[in-house]
């Protein structure tokens, strides 16, 4: 049975695909566009999204949007373990300007959800935005199990129902180091949309399982908060914070992550995106571009 929302959504998608398709197609066949903006958080996000064709290219009128920031640690934003609330706020605003009917900002923290909500400042920032909901789904009933065809490690996983129901998923991670995966950017952050993460560590090859999430969770837009990057002692901090004052945005999550890897001095060293195992695997699986040379980088 098709719900009214699905029906309308499908219609909107069909209409939009005829309109937007040429530009998207060229983006896929040619180089993926990576917009890099500097400046104050809100300003930089707006400029970066504009460089990608504006939020309207991703969010249709009446759309149901899920935004996935990192708000999974009960730390203040300055630690750069969680996404800067101002960045989340402007992304929400842009979605609403583009006509989003509902914006659900969600994450699934390891620590206590209520305390994460209070400490990260994101919910507080959004409390006056009536279309926005900040959710921390903390029960398996809010997740639906899906099989992951083609996966070697992650053969099935339970994904948040809201994500499966949404028209658009936008990842808004903070740029930070990670003591297992090297860096934690948008693709690593997708683990905040699944129910059982422990099993990634326990029964799977972690890096591959992370990449294989992209089979079933497909962000349409990735906006990386590299205003402050936590370059040591991630993901929980506290560690060394490098002030980059940069926003990296792309429709290609691998390209966005890979470009960001080259921005900061992780563990006081320099890395390329292809040196991060889970990004390399995601690239090999065809989820996006990893080589900066093959990206259309637009520095604003």
């Amino acid at each position: 049975m098709i719900s009214r929302r699905r029906f309308l959504g499908a219609g909107a998608a069909a209409v939009s695909s005829t309109v937007v398709a040429p530009s998207l197609l060229s983006a896929q066949t040619a180089k993926p566009v990576v917009a890099v903006a500097k400046g104050a958080a809100a300003d930089a996000v707006r400029k970066a999204v504009d460089a990608l064709g504006g939020m309207g290219a991703f969010v249709q009128k009446g759309a149901r949007v899920v935004i996935k920031p990192n708000m999974g640690f009960p730390n203040p934003p300055e630690w750069a373990t969680t996404t800067n609330p101002e960045v989340v706020k402007i992304v929400v605003d842009l979605c609403i300007e583009a006509g989003a009917r509902r914006v659900i900002v969600m994450d699934h923290p390891l620590r206590d959800a209520e305390i994460c909500k209070a400490r990260t400042g994101i919910a507080d920032m959004l409390k006056d935005v009536k279309q926005a909901i900040v959710a921390f789904p903390d029960d398996p009933k809010f997740y639906d199990e899906v099989s992951v065809p083609g996966a070697q490690e992650l053969k099935k996983t339970a994904v948040a129902k809201e994500v499966l129901k949404a028209d658009v998923l936008i990842c808004v991670p903070v740029a930070k180091s990670h003591s297992a995966t090297g860096v934690s950017l948008s693709i690593k952050g997708l683990m905040g949309l699944v129910w059982n993460r422990q099993v990634f560590h326990e029964q799977m090859e972690l890096n591959r399982a992370i990449a294989e999430q992209l089979y079933v969770i497909k962000p349409k837009l990735t906006i990386i908060d590299a205003m402050n990057a936590l370059i040591t002692n991630g993901p929980s901090g506290p560690g060394k914070v490098e002030k980059l004052g940069t926003i990296v945005a792309s429709a290609d999550p691998v390209a966005a992550d890979s470009y960001t890897v080259g921005l900061a001095r992780w563990y006081n060293r320099e890395f390329k995106g292809s040196q991060v195992k889970h990004l390399k695997i995601a690239n090999e699986l065809g989820f996006g571009e990893i080589d900066i040379e093959k990206m259309d980088v637009r520095i604003i």
Binding site: R111, E162, A180, H201, L206, F271, Q275
Partner: protein, 562 residues
């Protein structure tokens, strides 16, 4: 208004206040409302906790108010306020119809049993044992709420929400779609259930059985109440000795002569007024008077000594036999700020408030693992929840301050124990898996990774920094290993201070934020990502225990370094 109506209203209001404060006992702590104020009302709890711990408990002093009120008004608490009494009356009404129950009005009431219990409890407190968790309504009622009422209510609530959830979804109430009440689960609810079931079912034989025969708080109040200025009065001339009042009296406070009241038993409930066919009974101010009934406890030396020895025997049995709390396996972790064990046990009345308020559901009632002495006392179960770094509620709701009400910053420095890694279970140690969950969740950043050459080859493996670890057990909670966690908290280095600050310069230095600290990350020490690196760079014999350790912080295994 009829006195009986007034009493019903009073009971309902008092119970609502009690239940309301119970439901408000939740994170974040409502600063302006002392949610444990009701539980601090029992003067016997005050007396016994103070005597047993040989200390003045400031927070309990307010129970003196009830003592003074009882002195002036009489034993009204039992009939008008006591939440357990209200529950007893409530269940009595719905379970056992009074008319169907026959009590021989001529039988001896044996009401002295509760004075023996009172004497025993006080005697045991002299010996340092607090037995009130078996008897005090202020321990039993909240514990019943925590263990037996609250979890099923939450379950029911969630079931109801689940039923209407499709409607929320359909109607677009997206903020309600993910509504779910935080569930609590508790060990050891059975003992409390049996005790409560006994309290209720005993009414089948005797109305207010618990109040008449057992409750030492009632006994304590009745010792005071004999000075009460409110008393039952019978117009001598009107009484035809029909004894209807005596049949009505739940407390059997009316003896052979219906004109006479056993004041120490009378809770001023007013049922006798209802029962009196001659309309000759009233309850009112009679002026100061001293009633002359004394319990045998006070008049008979033999009874007095029985009681004393009974209490001492119970205390010695609890403290001195198999049941002595010894923490033999080292896994008894008390809530942060708990007093030294002897003082803690002397004060804790096992009301369950700390478990109700615990943010993570980590505080669980002990069953027999700590013996009879530790029955129902709170222990921190890391596997169930651990202790949330940003929460200090348990100490703030503890009526007897068995857990100190520490400010949050102070509480963060309390070392409850130390986490120990079980290398045979840990998948980073045993299976070279890229797991860092203990590190990720640790609020004090006490987990370090070092590349260690173990028998499966060199790999990044977790270690606990004992100076930083506070034993909160959050790592134990989230460890992905099924069943017993591969990292568990033991009471190694546990700190229990009766007074003073937990913050020391040494601890501050150990826990100083490592921000800005330049650590060299060594690419050669890269832990493999799922693959095992070549075993042992050094041909030299491995160090002690076969472990070869490198010193620099290794780079995460998620990097590929050429």
């Amino acid at each position: 208004m009829k006195l009986k109506t007034f009493r019903r209203i009073s009971q309902a209001v008092a119970f609502l206040v009690f239940a309301g404060l119970f439901f408000l006992t939740i994170f974040p702590y409502p600063e302006k409302i002392p949610v444990d104020i009701f539980l601090r009302l029992d003067p016997l709890v005050a007396l016994v906790s103070m005597v047993a711990s040989r200390d003045i408990i400031i927070t309990m002093l307010w129970s003196g108010l009830l003592l003074v009120l009882t002195l002036v008004v009489g034993r009204f608490f039992c009939g008008y306020i006591c939440p357990l009494g209200t529950l007893i009356d409530f269940f009595d009404r719905i379970l056992f119809k009074k008319n169907h129950r026959r009590e021989d009005p001529q039988a001896k009431p044996n009401r002295n049993i509760k004075y023996f219990i009172l004497g025993g409890v006080v005697a045991a407190s002299l010996a340092g044992a607090n037995l009130l968790h078996f008897f005090s309504p202020m321990a039993i009622a909240p514990r019943v709420m925590t263990l037996l009422v609250y979890p099923p209510l939450v379950w029911l609530g969630n079931t109801g929400i689940d039923l209407v959830r499709p409607f929320f979804s359909w109607a677009g109430f997206d903020n309600l779609v993910q509504l779910s009440l935080k569930r609590l689960y508790f060990d050891a609810a059975a003992g409390t259930f049996l005790l409560f079931a006994f309290i209720i079912i005993a009414n089948h034989w005797r109305r207010r059985f618990w109040c008449r025969y057992v409750c030492p708080t009632g006994a304590f109040l009745s010792l005071v109440s004999r000075f009460g200025i409110f008393k039952r009065k019978v117009q001598g001339a009107s009484c035809d000795e029909c004894r209807a009042c005596a049949m009505k009296c739940d407390m059997r406070a009316i003896d052979a002569d219906p004109r006479h009241t056993v004041l120490s038993e009378c809770t001023l409930c007013g049922d006798c007024i209802e029962g009196c066919k001659q309309h000759g009974t009233t309850i009112g101010i009679t002026g100061l008077g001293f009633s002359n009934e004394n319990s045998t406890l006070l008049t008979s030396r033999r009874s007095f000594f029985y009681s004393l020895f009974g209490g001492l025997a119970s205390a010695s049995l609890i403290k001195g036999s198999v049941s002595a709390s010894r923490n033999i396996n080292g896994q008894l972790i008390r809530p942060p700020g708990s007093l030294p064990e002897a003082d803690f046990l002397a004060r804790c009345i096992r009301c369950g408030e700390c478990m109700k308020v615990c943010k993570t559901n980590g505080l669980q009632p002990s069953l027999w693992e700590q013996g009879l002495d530790g029955l129902w006392t709170p222990r921190l179960s890391g596997r169930m929840g651990g202790c949330e770094d940003m929460c200090n509620m348990c100490g703030h709701v503890c009526p007897t301050q068995a857990i100190r009400a520490l400010p949050l910053n102070e509480k963060k420095f309390v070392k409850m124990g130390t986490a120990v890694i079980d290398k045979e279970r840990c998948i980073a140690w045993e299976q070279n898996k890229l797991c860092l969950i203990c590190d990720e969740i640790c609020p004090t950043d006490a987990i370090e990774f070092r590349v260690v050459d173990y028998y499966t080859g060199p790999f990044k493996r977790p270690f606990v920094d004992e100076d930083r670890c506070i034993g909160c057990g959050l790592c134990e909670n989230r460890c992905p290993v099924a069943g017993r966690s591969a990292i568990e908290v033991y009471s190694i280095g546990e700190e229990r201070q009766k007074a003073g600050s937990y913050i020391t310069e040494r601890k501050k230095a150990a826990r100083a934020i490592r921000e800005g600290e330049e650590r060299s990350y060594n690419a050669d020490d890269l832990g493999g990502g799922g693959e095992t690196l070549e075993k042992g760079k050094s041909a030299a014999p491995a160090g002690v225990n076969g472990l070869q350790e490198q010193t620099n912080e290794p780079l995460p295994g998620g990097f590929i370094v050429e």
